[in-house]
Amino acid sequence: MKKVKTIDLRVSIAGLELKNPVIAASGTFGYGAEYSGLAEPGDFGAIITKTVTLEPRPGNRPPRICETSCGMLNSIGLANVGFAVFREDKLPALIKKNTVIIANIAGNTIEEYVELAARLNKISDIPALELNISCPNVKLGGIAFGTDPASAAALTKAVRRAYKKTLIVKLSPNVSDIAGIARAVESSGADALSLINTLYGMAVDIKKQRPVLGNITGGLSGPAIKPVALYNLYKVHHSVKIPLIGLGGIMDHRDALEFMITGAAAVQIGTANFVNPSAVKDILSGLAGYCRENDITRIKNLTGILKC
């Protein structure tokens, strides 16, 4: 019998040490407790909590989700309990789990982002922050922070000043030049980047002659967007030096491998949690198997080995 080699699954993202490279994507794993019995926060290298805003938000009118070919649209609308409830009600239970907690935040103004970052800076159980920059910048007339390099840079700089731990910026793919945004954010002090957030999308109910979603448009996720996510990762990997966390349509370990090989230091899974709550476990064992077959002892050595 062949001896089964143990694979070192640990990865480090700008100093943030994760026991494995599979992270729960914001908005798809709630606050960690919902999947009880199906998947545990402790299964993941890290959990990124649902985007939290200063004040609670009710979210968009339903219907909020709809299936498309190999994908889904959502228009949850950043529905969340607000920072106070997040901190008092949601966080205590999650902290007890054996995982790294990354808080994802959003605001309508730079000030709101900075305020949230400053508060999170003081919460020792949360070692990292993911900035959701896909929100409309109300002061700039609703242009998303994430679509303009200058806004993205200004936002990152301001948050950087208020936040001393690991700062991750999550990029939107709905831009002409994601590499430009990535460089702007990198030079403004981001420690790492997550990419990608959802693509803008829409679906029409031809019987009702109305948009399917109550909010008309939504964000596309799932296997349909994987090629776009890989493309963006590839572009950004060649444009910045900070570590990258890849996501978009990862359903199994083969998908995860495509991202790691292309340049991701870790991956996030979003929609996959809905489809298969044990995706995290399946992916981790698949990754270990691949490493064994390919004589790779440390999973971190997979990052960016793409031959072109």
């Binding site: 908005g27 798809t28 794993f29 709630g30 919902e34 999947y35 009880s36 019995g37 199906l38 009710p58 979210g59 009118r61 339903p62 219907p63 909020r64 989700i65 709809c66 299936e67 070919s69 190999c70 994908g71 889904m72 959502n74 949850i76 529905a79 109550g214 799932g222 296997p223 359903m251 929609t271 949690n273 809905f274 489809v275 298969n276 709550p277 044990s278």
Partner: protein, 262 residues
């Protein structure tokens, strides 16, 4: 009580048959779920494991539990249920369940009226069984479009209505309900069916001050309250997720003026 939700990746199909022009009955071997399932809870099925399409799970009420077997009753609507209808005994399904909050039974009530419209019959099997287990007498009021769509309910004490009069009383199930309520002393109503029917049933119950529980539908992703995708508006104007706060709600909790979300 802590709900115990499980993912069973390979639940074998025991039988699968057509039970009306549009409905099918499928029975799964699910010992781990059979023991804890409550009436009104649902299963979240992954219909084509290994293929990215259909992508999301599909929710189906638990129709009945017998020993280790859990069954569902469903109608072919779109791609997912069409694929499901082709599956054969011996094949397996990836199941998450039991999910959601089911019906609450108040044993003090004298009459227990189960009001079902079309596929709204689905949860009534297990509900009737539970009532009987508590020595209570379920009465089913079941409306369908026509005799072709009628599914044999397998519940004693059943009144039927059909829209075209081809079976039972001609008309809507609400008229059966109104008739029955006239001679009820202290009824409780449990309803499942399309939104307009539920709205009508809720309206009747509110007017007559009768406790009414409704099982709602919504598009679902996670099924466990994590994604906030399946919300409806409650009577306070807040959004509540159907998958974990429901699918069964007290009818007074719901804002019946909103558009149907399906």
């Amino acid at each position: 009580m802590m709900k115990k939700i499980l993912q069973i990746k390979n639940a074998p199909i025991l039988f699968h048959r057509k039970v009306s022009s549009c409905a099918r009955h499928i029975s799964l071997s699910l010992p781990a779920i059979a023991g804890t399932a409550e009436p009104g809870q649902f299963l979240h099925l992954r219909i084509s494991s290994g293929s990215p399409s259909p992508l999301l799970r599909r929710p189906f009420s638990i129709n009945d539990v017998q020993g280790d077997r859990v069954s569902i009753l469903y109608e072919v609507k779109g791609a997912g249920t069409k694929l499901l209808s082709k599956m054969l005994p011996g094949e397996t399904l990836d199941v998450i369940g039991p999910l959601g909050m089911g019906f609450d039974i108040d044993p003090q009530k004298r009459e227990h009226l189960l009001v079902a419209g079309g596929m709204g019959l689905a949860p009534m099997g297990l509900l009737a069984r539970s009532l009987k287990g508590m020595k209570l007498k379920p009465e089913l009021l079941y409306g369908c479009r026509s005799s072709a769509e009628l599914v044999k309910p397998g519940i004693t004490g059943c009144q039927i209505s059909s829209e075209d009069g081809s079976c039972g009383k001609k008309g809507l199930v609400t008229s059966l309900l109104l008739d029955r309520l006239r001679i009820c002393r202290d009824p409780a109503v449990y309803a499942c069916g399309p939104w307009p029917m539920l709205k009508a049933v809720a309206g009747i119950c509110h007017k007559n001050n009768i406790p009414c529980q409704v099982s709602l539908e919504s598009f679902m992703a996670c099924g466990v309250g994590a994604c906030q995708g399946c919300v409806v508006k409650n009577s306070d104007g807040n959004y509540v997720s159907v998958c974990d706060k429901g699918p069964v709600f007290n009818s007074r909790q719901i804002d019946w003026d909103q558009d149907c979300v399906i």
